[in-house]
């Protein structure tokens, strides 16, 4: 890899750094020393076991959903519906965890995860079918499905599934056998992150080394050529989208089974939207998504600490999260390793597209 290629690979890193610098401006305007604010974020996210565990907790749903969105990206699809798929996955896991009793954990946990994957997949199936069948942009349909899912969970958590006498809309606790074990004692860090990491490795192998992954990429990059080569393009796209939704659904399940142990109204604070940025900054590469998800997880957990110690509204941290994608890389590293970008000050002879069709 020559220097230019390396610069291209590092573009997302630059983007994040620029964004963090820009984020200082309003923090400073609010009368807080920006350096102190970032120090608090860093301290809160990584300094001790507890902070690190919180970071892992926040990373988990981002990683699941980010991987899901990355799978869709590889097929040339933009899944903005991870938020809704997270909700449906959490809902399905909660239903299994609440209604089934007496199973050993080794059966109950996979069963709940399976249900969550199925629910997330079904939630993504509708936009996928509308896309291949009627040509409706998946961007808008996945967005709209989010709202339906959020209100559906809100209704169930505050209605039929609500714990009698609860002060807020939440369900009874899940059956103990359906809860994910804690992996760092005395913290919230749960086994969901291990499953997510395993899936990231699995997807890396699929897309890097198997024909299935190649077919998905081909169907996304050049449907006509793919069809000519015998790939069933429509079926492949639908399958990729369903897999995408299933992964996001697992994210919701791990949140419910590992962290909350109940179905709460509005249990995801926008993980599905952050995951879009996670996936794009990771350029749709599963292993890179692990890194970006961890970064955003740390930002989220650190921002909570900063908010407590400096008296900031936590939402302002969503400004930090929002900004990296505004400065997201103008050009992506090309397949052949060369890169094109704004960094060299001249217009490059050839601009490369990201590895998926834009829009």
């Amino acid at each position: 890899m020559n220097g230019r290629a390396l610069a291209g690979r590092l573009l997302p890193v630059w983007a994040v750094l620029v964004a963090l610098l820009l984020g200082m401006v309003p923090v400073g305007l609010a009368g807080v020393n920006p350096a102190a604010a970032y120090e608090e974020i860093l301290r809160g996210a990584l300094a001790d076991v507890y902070g690190f565990a919180t970071t892992l907790v926040k990373t988990t749903p981002l990683l699941f959903a980010g991987l899901g969105i990355a799978v869709a990206l590889r097929a040339g699809l933009v899944n903005i519906g991870a938020e809704g798929q997270i909700y449906m996955g959490g809902l399905a896991a909660a239903v299994v965890g609440l209604s089934v009793h007496g199973l050993p954990s080794v059966v109950h946990v996979p069963l709940a995860l399976l249900a969550a994957g199925a629910a997330g997949g079904v939630w993504a199936l509708v936009p996928a079918l509308l896309k291949v069948g009627r040509g409706v942009s998946e961007v808008i349909t996945t967005l709209l499905m989010n709202y339906v899912a959020i209100y559906l969970v809100s209704f169930l958590a505050g209605g039929p599934l609500m714990e009698p006498g609860a002060p807020y809309p939440y369900s009874r606790p899940l059956d103990a056998a359906a809860q994910l074990p804690v992996i760092i004692p005395a913290t919230d860090a749960h086994a969901g992150i291990l499953l997510a990491l395993a899936l990231a490795g699995f997807l890396h192998l699929i897309f890097g080394y198997t024909a299935v992954g190649f077919r998905v990429r081909m169907a996304g990059a050049n449907p006509a050529a793919a069809a000519y080569a015998g790939v069933r393009v429509h079926a492949t796209l639908v399958a990729a989208m369903v897999a995408s939704g299933a992964l996001a659904g697992l994210g919701g399940a791990s949140e419910v089974m590992g962290l909350k142990h109940r179905l709460f109204d509005a249990f995801s604070p926008g993980y599905g939207y952050d995951a879009i940025i996670v996936a794009f900054l990771g350029a749709g590469q599963p292993l890179a998504v692990v890194a970006t998800a961890f970064f955003f997880g740390a930002l989220r957990s650190g921002a909570d600490t900063m908010q407590r110690s400096l008296g900031f509204p936590s939402r302002s941290s969503s400004r930090f999260r929002g900004s990296p994608c505004c400065s997201s890389p103008p050009a992506w590293p090309c397949r052949d390793g060369s890169s094109a970008g704004r960094g060299d000050g001249r217009r490059s002879p050839r601009r490369c597209r990201p590895p998926w069709p834009q829009g």
Binding site: A30, V78, V148, Y151, D274
Partner: protein, 295 residues
């Protein structure tokens, strides 16, 4: 009518941006910025009209930001739009809590309902259409004006050409990037107006995340309205009616949990997109970055 107007304004913005070839998913965020700017303008600069002006300026500025990132730098349009939305949610909440709340700003001067002389007395139509805040009338006039602009003027032709086949437009001497900047900024101004209508036309205050997905409904209205300003207006009426119906159900407490009727506009949008639109054809180059040296 009242519920349709913000959707209609944002949808017309979406029409402009997509006709010029930029898929603007940031409408939601632009509306939110507009809603906040309108309240601040109305409070600090004196009156709802200044608020509207502020909303248009801020909306346009956000449009400029989105245009710079997606057109100028060539970043993915959908990601940059999502970024705008996240930025809007964080920033408006931040400003509202750090500026408005400490200053004790809650209710601000809003638009009053005006009855158009004579027309307001037309039976049925009068009270519904002609007894509204001025913004409603502006919206109703804006739709045909924008349609005329897009479909009869050379500038409109330039916008449409840029959205359909930018290379041909470029060859014909049209500055593609400039037109796209214009399209996205115009959509920001319109979405900002939509936000201003939410905070000053329907209410007289700003609340966190008050757009609540209307920008996304507007995107559906763009598609359902077949990328035509009048079509977008019509589609917005449909979604406005759905919202009115769900409010009605909530108000009269028919024993239905509120979440179910709240879903109605979104479900309707999905059904409409899936079932009735048929294959409506988007501007061919919408969502695709154009660089002169690309091949």
């Amino acid at each position: 009518m009242r519920l349709s107007t913000p959707i209609a304004l944002a949808a017309m913005g979406g029409v402009f941006s997509e006709r010029s070839g930029v898929f603007n998913i940031g409408l939601e965020g632009m509306m939110l910025f507009g809603a906040l700017a309108a309240v601040m303008g109305s409070h600090y600069l004196g009156g709802p009209w200044m608020g509207l002006l502020g909303a248009m300026l801020v909306g346009g500025a956000i449009g400029l930001l989105l245009a710079y990132v997606s057109v100028g730098l060539g970043a993915n349009q959908i990601v940059s739009g999502v970024g705008i939305n996240l930025l809007a949610l964080g920033m408006t909440t931040f400003v509202a809590r750090m500026v408005l709340r400490p200053a004790g700003v809650e209710q601000v001067p809003a638009f009053q309902i005006v009855a158009v002389p004579y027309l307001a007395r037309v039976p049925l139509l009068g009270p519904v259409v002609f007894t509204q805040t001025p913004l409603v009338f502006i919206t109703l006039l804006l739709a045909p004006a924008l349609a005329l602009f897009l479909f009869t003027t050379p500038w409109g032709l330039a916008v449409r050409a840029t959205g359909e086949l930018p290379r041909a437009a470029d060859t014909a001497g049209i500055h593609v990037s400039l037109v796209r900047y214009f399209g996205v900024i115009a959509s920001g101004v319109l979405a900002g107006m939509g936000g201003a209508f939410l905070s000053l036309g329907q209410l007289n205050l700003f609340s966190e995340n008050m757009t609540a997905g209307r920008g996304f409904i507007a995107l559906a209205a763009v598609i359902f309205g077949k990328w035509h300003p009048l079509g977008a207006l019509g589609a917005s009426f449909l979604f406005g009616a759905a919202e009115a119906l769900q409010l009605f159900i909530q108000t009269y407490n028919l024993g239905i949990p509120y979440q179910l009727p709240t879903m109605l506009p979104y479900v309707l949008a999905l059904v409409v997109l899936g079932g009735f639109v048929g294959r409506s054809v988007a501007p061919a180059a919408a969502g695709v970055h154009y660089g002169r040296e690309d091949r």
